[in-house]
């Protein structure tokens, strides 16, 4: 696997001074976040702190009220959001597989439609991605016939099939049975080792500590502290982060 870095043209992702309100409720209040090319950033914080919303701003599922999004150093707010999303893969807490399609169809759909691949080429691509996450043997099953861990593997394969430059994970293990969490985290860690730029919203502090390059702590729609895992977990500066860590650790 010496050609990993050659295969992945790692790019950086950043959000600058992001603001978003739903009505009178300010969800994000001037967030700055940076994910350097090829690095893994863990995003932690209490529920309702705006972590998931921030992810959806970065691939423009929500449009920010103010601020800018930079992919590979370029602002992408003027681009076609559909093209942007092809470059940024996303994995959800509840997998969100398409239940009316087989596992293979789930993975094939976007490459087929958006990259205009032939049915055969799309199938080869999808099978390769399923193989990568260890799900090739379930290609013909319906999502409902899979366990949660298996569904999340398929969802990861589905996102990877578009060949994204950045991956966003939104509490990818929160809906899983405890014994399945480890496998998914290992898969995410493998992706990071391959040089994928990743922003991972997680409640798994062990994962954040062991796998991420940087940890970002958010609360009340703002970034409170940023730093390498050692610093965040061993030498928290702010009282808010200390309180949060005392509750989750």
């Amino acid at each position: 696997m010496t050609d990993r870095t050659a295969k992945l043209q790692s790019v950086s992702l950043a959000g600058k001074d992001i603001h978003l309100s739903f009505g009178r409720n300010a969800v994000l209040r001037g967030v700055d976040i940076e994910v350097p090319a090829g690095s893994t950033v863990a995003l932690i914080g209490p529920s309702g702190s705006g972590k998931s919303t921030l992810l959806r701003i970065l691939n423009r599922l929500h449009e920010p009220d103010r601020g800018d999004i930079l992919l590979d150093g370029q602002s992408v707010l003027k681009d076609d959001p559909n093209r942007l999303r092809q470059r940024i893969g996303m994995v959800f807490q509840h997998f969100n597989l398409f239940p009316h399609r087989s596992v293979l169809d789930n993975v094939m759909l976007a490459p087929r439609r958006l990259k205009r691949l032939s049915a055969d080429a799309a199938r080869q691509l999808a099978l390769a991605q399923l193989d990568r996450v260890g799900m090739k043997h379930k290609a013909d099953s319906r999502p409902a016939a899979l366990s949660g861990g298996q569904q999340q593997r398929v969802a990861i394969a589905r996102a990877l099939a578009m060949g994204p430059q950045v991956m966003l994970f939104d509490e990818a293990t929160s809906a899983l049975d405890p014994e399945l969490v480890k496998g998914i985290l290992a898969l995410i860690a493998d992706l990071g080792a391959d040089g994928m730029t990743m922003l991972v919203v997680t409640h798994e502090m062990g994962f954040a500590k062991s796998t991420s390059d940087t940890v970002v702590f958010m609360d009340h729609g703002q970034v409170v502290e940023t730093g390498p895992p050692d610093q965040i977990f061993e030498a928290a500066e702010t009282e808010r982060l200390q309180r949060f860590l005392s509750q989750v650790l």
Partner: protein, 597 residues
């Protein structure tokens, strides 16, 4: 799987039952003579009831023309006909012997045969369309029909709406009561009794204006007579000829009295301002009186002694020679003096519902005419309903107010109105506007009305299905880079449709049954759907068996449909990989076509 096997068994059992019914039908002997839509001939002669021989006939006659133009001066190009050289006639399928549909699907009866003879004299073609009496005069006035032919009494009130030819028949009323009733004649009628009439007829006017009573209104003669026999009403004020014709030996009803109604004579109705057509029909009428055709048809179909001083046609028309009907009736009465004993309840039930010979008569017509028409109506209105319904659903969940709002209004209106109101409003109201496009065929309008109504329901079904799909599905699809439209079309809507498949099939079943309502619009014989075919046989024979046969056809269509949807639903739920079409759009198409079968 057990459940499914059980259902299969039920289905097979239903089919077997139906097949055995059919085979019984084939084994049954040829029909006893129950067809009421055929000439009775001289032997059916009726003397003028004694009560009427001395009664005062209403008012002097100021409308009958003194004479007519000679036939040779009629210009058939100037008659203002709807279709050039063809007389389009609105008539009834259920009023034997004056107008009815024969068992081989031709409009006939005394009125219509006479009109055929008249149009032959004039050199015109004639096309008959069946309709409802209550709507007939309005349709003549609006020139949807050139002529109304339905034993129409030419009354003052009706002359405000339409014009009338000279008389070709007279009418008097009879009072039909259940056997053993206390009512002995018109004088015994009083408030509080349920007195049946057919809506819009001269009998209704008579009960309201002359007797000052409130009648119970019925759509046709068959229904009102059945209600008398079953004691659901106390009396039926009936046109005498139709009543006599409907009554069979052994029926639990009798005639309690006779009276003259309103108006002097029965005539054809024509649009009020169409003087050339009126004059031409009058000329034709005098001509068929002169050559004896009138007397022949009168004797064949409605043989009864005319009241004193009445004759058909203009004042200068020849006085026709008629046999002495009173004498014939007297001879005939003596010959068949033995009245058969009343039938037992069981025999009555059997005749009403399980007259095999009638099944045998009705089933081929139901198959050849009724079934195809019902399917055409249902399938084409379903296509309209699905297409517009999908547009309504997508507009209804749109973020744009200018799309959401019209969809909402449309749905509220079409879902809030009874189907029959929509059919009448669109069928009769739009008729004159789009008459050129549809060639005055109400069939497309009926389909449009059914389809537009179905669209409102289908739209709501689709909308609820689409909205029930979790928001994460749209989000996941969009996160892959698929556009909103692609995400809706490939991910959200297919799932939404699947969820509402059972509700959609219910809607199609409702549509299948609702297709019976197009009969309100007036259909030619070949356009009749299952219900109308059954209804016409029912009217010809007075037996409910043909309606039961039509009902069985509906069940044959609807029961497998419900089982099919359960099967399809199951299959979609549990998925049969490999058995599904490759392209998701194909898949939408294939689900819809399954719904339509």
């Amino acid at each position: 799987m057990n459940v499914f096997a059980g259902k299969l068994f039920a289905l097979v059992a239903t089919m077997l039952l139906i097949c055995s019914l059919a085979s019984l039908t084939l084994a049954a002997p040829i029909a006893a003579d129950t067809n009421q839509c055929r000439p009775s001939g001289k032997d059916g002669a009726i003397a003028l009831p004694r009560q009427l021989a001395t009664a005062n006939r209403p008012r002097e006659d100021k409308y009958t023309t003194a004479d007519v133009e000679p036939l040779s001066s009629v210009d058939i190009g100037a008659l203002g006909l709807h279709t050039p050289k063809t007389l389009t006639v609105g008539t009834l399928s259920q009023a034997p012997p004056t107008s009815c549909l024969s068992s081989n699907g031709h409009y006939t009866g005394y009125d219509n045969e006479l009109l055929r003879a008249i149009t032959a004299k004039l050199g015109l073609q004639v096309a008959f369309v069946g309709t409802d009496f209550s709507g007939l005069l309005a349709q003549v006035a609006s020139r949807r029909f050139d002529v109304g032919s339905a034993s129409i009494m030419a009354t003052e009130a009706r002359r405000r709406t339409v014009g009338f030819t000279n008389g070709y028949d007279f009418g008097y009323l009879s009072l039909v009561v259940p056997s053993g009733s206390q009512i002995g004649g018109f004088d015994d009628l009083a408030a509080g009794q349920r007195i049946g009439v057919v809506q819009g007829t001269v009998e209704e006017a008579y009960v309201v204006d002359t007797l000052h009573l409130q009648p119970v209104k019925f759509p046709d003669f068959t229904t009102v007579y059945t209600s008398v026999k079953t004691h659901q009403i106390d009396a039926w004020v009936a046109p005498a000829m139709e009543a006599t014709n409907a009554m069979r030996p052994g029926d639990t009803a009798e005639i309690a009295g006779y009276t003259f109604g309103l108006g002097n004579y029965v005539a054809y109705a024509v649009a009020k301002d169409n003087q050339p057509l009126l004059a031409a029909l009058n000329s034709g009428l005098d001509a068929v009186i002169a050559d004896g055709t009138w007397a022949q048809l009168y004797t064949d179909w409605v043989p009864r002694t005319p009241p004193p001083g009445w004759k058909p046609g203009s004042k200068s028309a020849l006085t026709p020679h008629l046999p002495d009907f009173a004498a014939i009736a007297e001879r005939h009465r003596r010959a068949v003096d033995e009245v058969p004993p009343p039938k037992s309840v069981l025999a009555q039930l059997r005749d009403s519902f399980f007259d095999w010979s009638l099944y045998k008569q009705a089933i081929p017509v139901l198959l050849k005419t009724g079934l195809p028409n019902t399917l055409i109506l249902t399938v084409s209105s379903s296509v309209i309903g699905l297409a517009i319904g999908m547009v309504l659903a997508v507009a209804g969940i749109s973020r744009a107010r200018w799309l959401r709002w019209p969809a909402r209004v449309y749905t509220d209106i079409f879902r809030g109105l009874p189907e029959v109101v929509i059919i009448l409003l669109i069928g009769l109201g739009m008729g004159p506007l789009v008459g050129g496009l549809t060639n005055n065929n109400p069939y497309p309008l009926g389909i449009a009305a059914l389809g537009l109504t179905a669209a409102a329901y289908v739209g709501e079904i689709f909308r609820s299905g689409i909205q029930s799909v979790e928001s994460g599905q749209l989000e996941a699809s969009r996160a892959l880079g698929l556009s909103y439209r692609a995400s809706m079309g490939l991910v959200v809507i297919p799932q939404g449709i699947r969820r509402v498949l059972p509700a959609l099939v219910n809607q199609f079943i409702a549509l299948l049954k609702g297709s019976a309502l197009v009969y309100f619009l007036g259909l030619i014989a070949g356009q009749r759907e299952l219900f109308q075919v059954g209804r016409d046989f029912n009217a010809q024979t007075g037996s409910l068996s043909p309606l039961v046969a039509a009902g069985i056809f509906y069940l044959i269509l609807t029961i497998p449909l419900t089982h099919l949807v359960n099967f399809v639903d199951n299959r979609l739920r549990h998925g049969r990989a490999g058995a599904e079409p490759e392209d998701p759009l194909d898949r939408i198409a294939s689900t819809t076509s399954q719904e339509m079968t």
